[in-house]
Symmetry: C2
Subunit: 319 residues, 2 copies
């Protein structure tokens, strides 16, 4: 049998077909902006599944189940999207709407949890029993796997690690709090830290790097400048890693997973500039314990596909 995973992102709706082993056979995507109502979302999902089936010569009946990852809160039992931060989805009975078009079981899950499931079954968490993923994107997505199961809490909404305050009275967050971790350690936060450093240092190599990129500040800008020896870029990287480590150590002291994987675009930076200094800071700050029992901090392995693969495997896991 085969499985479809769908990732509902802030920009794109992406779908992929995977086999029993979690191998991605084909993908398709479209702009989420083209979907203007709930009904349309379910219909689009169904038509993307049909496209994937046709492209791979797969019969629709060979698709065992479909999983959807959503950037927000969901009700797992009914397959409903409760709300999302960056999309106009509120109380969408996605499973019910989807079943007007296709009969496959539909699982709806938080996207951070999907990424964790993907990494757990086929990526950085393969040999882990207590696994946490942290995905650095527009916000910070978290996923916690405890003895092979997603840690959902009492209401399905556990794992919102990005909305953990690490800076008392810090930057306001759309969630209503101040100083949330994702205001300091997401890819968006890294861009803000970069912009602030550029404003203070208009003659820096960092400003040159951004100018070479047509003036666009990216999550890579500071790391590129740092590699060129720019002290301004190096300071941005140092500060960013300090914030990133703060939240990761919080999670380790609370969960003590055997493995914690960081994913998202930022995690692709050179290990010498991101992973290694991060690991050193985490080791310095975590509650001491025997070296062989410390949490391993590693890179996620599935890249941007983790969410799709994990969403697809939601169904496989439950068979």
């Amino acid at each position: 049998m085969k499985y479809v995973g769908i990732d509902v992102g802030g920009t794109n709706l992406k779908a992929g077909l995977v086999d029993e082993s979690g191998l991605l056979l084909a993908t398709t995507k479209m702009k989420i902006a083209r979907i203007d109502n709930q009904e349309n979302l379910a219909w689009t999902m169904a038509s993307m599944i049909q496209d994937l089936a046709e492209a791979t010569g797969t019969g629709i009946s060979e698709i065992a189940s479909v999983g959807v990852g959503v950037p927000g809160a969901v009700e797992i039992r009914s397959g409903t999207v409760l709300y999302t931060c960056n999309l106009p989805l509120r109380n969408v009975p996605l499973r019910r709407l989807f079943h007007r078009y296709l009969p496959q079981p539909l699982y709806v899950e938080n996207d951070g949890n999907c990424a964790a499931v993907g990494e757990y079954f086929t990526g950085a968490g393969r040999n882990s029993k207590r696994f946490v993923t942290v995905t650095l994107g527009t916000g910070i997505g978290g996923g916690i796997i405890h003895n092979g199961r997603i840690f959902h809490g009492s209401n399905g909404m556990a794992g919102e690690v990005g909305h953990m305050t690490i800076v008392h009275n810090g930057h306001p967050c759309p969630c209503g709090r101040k100083g949330c971790w994702e205001q300091y350690a997401s890819a968006s936060a890294l861009k803000r830290l970069t912009r602030e450093a550029m404003d203070r240092n208009p003659d820096s190599i960092l400003c040159q790097v951004v100018a070479e990129n047509e003036g666009n500040i990216s999550g890579q800008s500071a790391f590129i400048a740092a590699r060129r020896g720019d002290p301004v870029g190096q300071e941005v990287c140092r500060l960013y890693i300090e914030y990133l480590a703060a939240g990761i150590v919080n999670l380790i002291n609370i969960f003590q997973p055997d493995t914690l994987a960081i994913g998202g675009g930022v995690s692709n930076e050179d290990d010498a500039y991101l992973l290694h200094p991060l690991q050193q800071q985490v080791e310095r700050e975590s509650i001491p314990c025997n070296r062989d029992k410390r949490t391993r901090v590693v890179k996620a392995q599935l890249g941007n596909d983790a969410g799709i693969i994990g969403a697809a495997l939601l169904g496989k896991k439950k068979r």
Copy 2:
């Protein structure tokens, strides 16, 4: 059968005998300072158990098991104390030492976890499935119960919620980090906030309250002053509750328990001055979800006995 629970505190060693229902039948205590080596600790525990048995006319053979709560890290499988923050216990093979004196099964557990087990079985967590306790004392102890089991993480050291940074680059903590929650929301932190406010406001009612208490600042001082209408005392309470709420909301956003209980001396303050403003702030800040699915923030019910009762029930639970 009956069960003995022992609480190894910073000041006292306390032991209690409980029945099958978790009811405390008798207690005894002694100064921990009188115990000058590891061997002595195990011997003292055994003799306290014999005292409890004699005092209640219980035969030693009627005691099914003994549980010990320790303020630090333990290795559950071997019954070893790995380290404690405020006591000179390092790598103490407590179970092995104890068995030189008594044959009962001995369970060694973190004291925050013991308090959580006590409240879960016989206190504020009786109807809970996903339960978190936060004990406000010298530090902040945490205990997480997930589907009836203590959440231990991969190495038995999970739940160190007091060592979650909430103030970036804040007060140094003995754990090596800065800005840990327990530096802002423990009973000790409340005393520090009180002292700082007194220094700034030497003519305040708060200073009178402390003078009336022979100059001793307690965790109650600011609350007493606040009830007398003192704006200085009220501001200390407001700030303390703000810090307390910050960590509690972090835990709710991460765990989404159905119930979160706060214990320790501070939690005995008037609801109007502590629990109710805390609940309001937590509700304002937590990730929104349906009202009937929100975490209930309540007071712990077993007071200082939670640790003893929970330690005793470690054995009962495992039979």
